[in-house]
């Protein structure tokens, strides 16, 4: 993508100033300005937009423990902040430019539906986004894309008006009018095509990083089936996440903008199709990147590889074996217990008080309840607030 940007700068410079280098410099200046804005706008903006609440260890020990386990398995330096999004839709995301100051968020709907192994798979996927610096990479790519679009838009406008009014400076070189026209036409065509090409590149990069994150999750947990069955549950739900936003889309675990019933497998999708991801994970015979690569080739019948050479070289081609399914800790095994767990957490986070009646009912008192007494709806006993 940087190449596309450089080419735009090159052509613009040639057209306007007869000097390609000037064009490149201007392109770089615009890029640097946008980068600076984006770098300092921070994660809190994105998290605030999603109505996320930060939790402590005592609020949800199981989630906290799972994140801590994955932090150890991946070798992250510091524990990421954990947020819960109050939404019945199923999704999770990771954010943070720097692995030292990262955050992970998960919706309450998803927290309720997954068992421990699946939750571990999802968190492993998010943490590998942090570890592989995908947040930074996609932000940079987004900025590059923005710069390209800006330059292309203004560039093409000026070129068109410039050539129409005929106020072109004649070139001082011996090329003459014809060469200029050819350059003009080329530049115009490129201006129009560049944003489209850049977008496709952006989405292709996003999809590739998703595959890498899936492979890393399998490597950390040594149990790709966990992530696979979590993805199955995720794919089955068609509920849209209310507060998803475009800027953050690549960092969610599944595409928050997928339309109901449509297969999000086209070129403009930030995530690969879920069924394909599940098939690759389930076909893995070991847990290393090489195994994921092999599995990917198997699913795509021999076409190409998905893990870059650099990532493969880092871990070597040692065979890493999978572990067996772990027996679930009884706390929160059943769906009912997990649902109760999560709704208890949401009550507490929203400052509701709890009164336990002798008949076994738990009464939830909203924070601004002003009466001094409340009656149990089941047995009729009066309780003092």
């Amino acid at each position: 993508m940087a190449v596309v940007l450089a080419l735009i700068g090159f052509f613009l410079g040639l057209s306007f100033f007869d000097n390609a280098i000037a064009g490149l410099v201007i392109a770089i200046i615009i890029w640097a300005l946008l980068s600076t804005f984006a770098y300092f706008s921070g994660d809190s903006l994105l998290l605030g937009m999603s109505r996320a609440r930060k939790i402590k260890r005592d609020d949800h020990p199981r989630l906290y423990n799972v994140v801590e386990e994955m932090k150890i398995a991946s070798g992250l330096e510091n524990m990421p902040d954990i947020y819960i999004i109050d939404d019945p839709a199923l999704n999770a995301f990771a954010t943070g430019r720097d692995p030292k100051r990262a955050s992970v968020a998960i919706t309450s709907g998803l927290l309720q539906k997954l068992n421990r192994d699946e939750l571990q798979g999802v968190i492993a996927h998010e943490i590998s986004h942090i570890k592989n610096r995908d947040v930074l990479l996609m932000a940079m790519c987004g900025i590059l894309l923005g710069t390209i679009v800006i330059l292309a838009w203004y560039g093409s406008r000026f070129l068109i008006f410039g050539s129409m009014t005929g106020s072109r400076r004649s070139s001082s070189s011996a090329g003459g009018g014809q060469a200029q026209i050819i350059i003009l036409v080329l530049a115009l065509v490129f201006m129009i095509l560049a944003p489209i090409i850049a977008q496709f590149i952006y989405f292709a990069i996003s999809r590739k990083r998703e595959y890498l994150a899936d492979a890393s999750a399998a490597l950390y947990t040594r149990y790709p089936e966990g992530l696979a069955s979590a993805l199955e549950k995720l794919g089955a739900s068609t509920q849209q996440l209310k507060t998803a936003n475009q800027a953050n889309a690549p960092m969610y675990i599944i595409n928050p903008f997928r339309k109901k019933g449509l297969k999000a497998s086209d070129l403009t999708s930030t995530h690969p199709p879920i069924s394909e991801r599940i098939r690759i994970l389930r076909a893995m015979s070991g847990a290393s990147f090489a195994n994921y690569d092999e599995s990917y080739r198997q699913v795509h019948r021999g076409k190409g590889n998905i893990i870059g050479a650099a990532a493969l070289a880092g871990t070597g081609t040692e065979a890493i074996s999978l572990r067996d399914a772990k027996l679930e800790a009884p706390l929160g095994t059943g769906k009912l217990e997990r649902a109760r767990d999560t709704s208890d957490l949401m009550w507490r986070l929203n400052d509701y008080k709890t009164i336990t009646c002798e008949c076994g009912t738990r009464l939830r008192i909203p924070p601004r309840f002003r009466e001094s007494r409340v009656q149990c709806p089941h047995c009729g006993r009066i309780h003092r607030v």
């Binding site: 199981r62 423990n65 150890i72 398995a73 772990k326 706390l331």
Partner: protein, 187 residues
């Protein structure tokens, strides 16, 4: 004059990758040491959790004295040998793991205990600690793999040979008891 430039050129062309590789080796070796220390942290956490577990469970499981004692003894032994060599430690920790899993399997017969909130929270902590121990071992082995690759693959093995970086050992589980899965009977 030309000779000086050639010498500077050689220094730059060979020196910079050399320094970069050396730093990479140092970083990886420190990662291995750090990973080893992390295992210690988790093991110690387990020692601290077990007395708590014993207190909670004692009242309910009066007839399981042998199982309870096995856990307490294994824990004390493991704590005693915590300053000994890796082989002995691995053995003691393995014994503790299997004693704990036997205890947790027996808990299935005590529905009162299973409904106790304290116990449930403790069980979650214990499960998580066991997971963390195995993940920190896993991370240690991964770090050792990366470090060994660097010391043995070309061209970084040249740098490693010259500066004295040697391959590290993996943390193997050699305790037969730990490899055995706990038998849970539903009779």
């Amino acid at each position: 004059m030309l000779a000086v430039w050639i010498i500077i050129g050689i220094i730059v062309v060979f020196g910079i990758p050399f320094i970069a590789t050396y730093n990479g080796l140092v970083r990886r070796r420190n990662q291995v040491k750090n990973a080893w220390a992390q295992i210690d942290v988790q093991l110690k956490r387990r020692y601290d959790l077990i007395p708590n577990l014993m207190e909670t469970v004692k009242g309910y499981m009066k007839h399981e004295r042998e199982t309870l004692e096995a856990v307490t003894n294994a824990r004390n032994l493991a704590q005693q040998v915590s300053s000994a060599g890796a082989g002995e430690r691995a053995k003691a920790e393995g014994e503790l793991s299997s004693a704990l899993s036997r205890l947790l399997a027996v808990v299935e017969n005590y529905p009162d205990l299973k409904a106790n909130q304290n116990f449930l929270a403790l069980q979650e902590e214990l499960t998580s600690t066991e997971n963390k121990i195995s993940f920190s071992r896993q991370y240690y082995n991964d770090s050792v793999l990366r470090y060994n690759n660097q010391t043995q693959m070309f061209p970084s093995n040249i740098v490693a040979g010259m500066t004295g970086f040697k391959a590290s050992e993996f943390f193997e589980v050699t305790v037969a008891a730990e490899r055995e899965a706990p038998k849970v009977s539903f009779t």
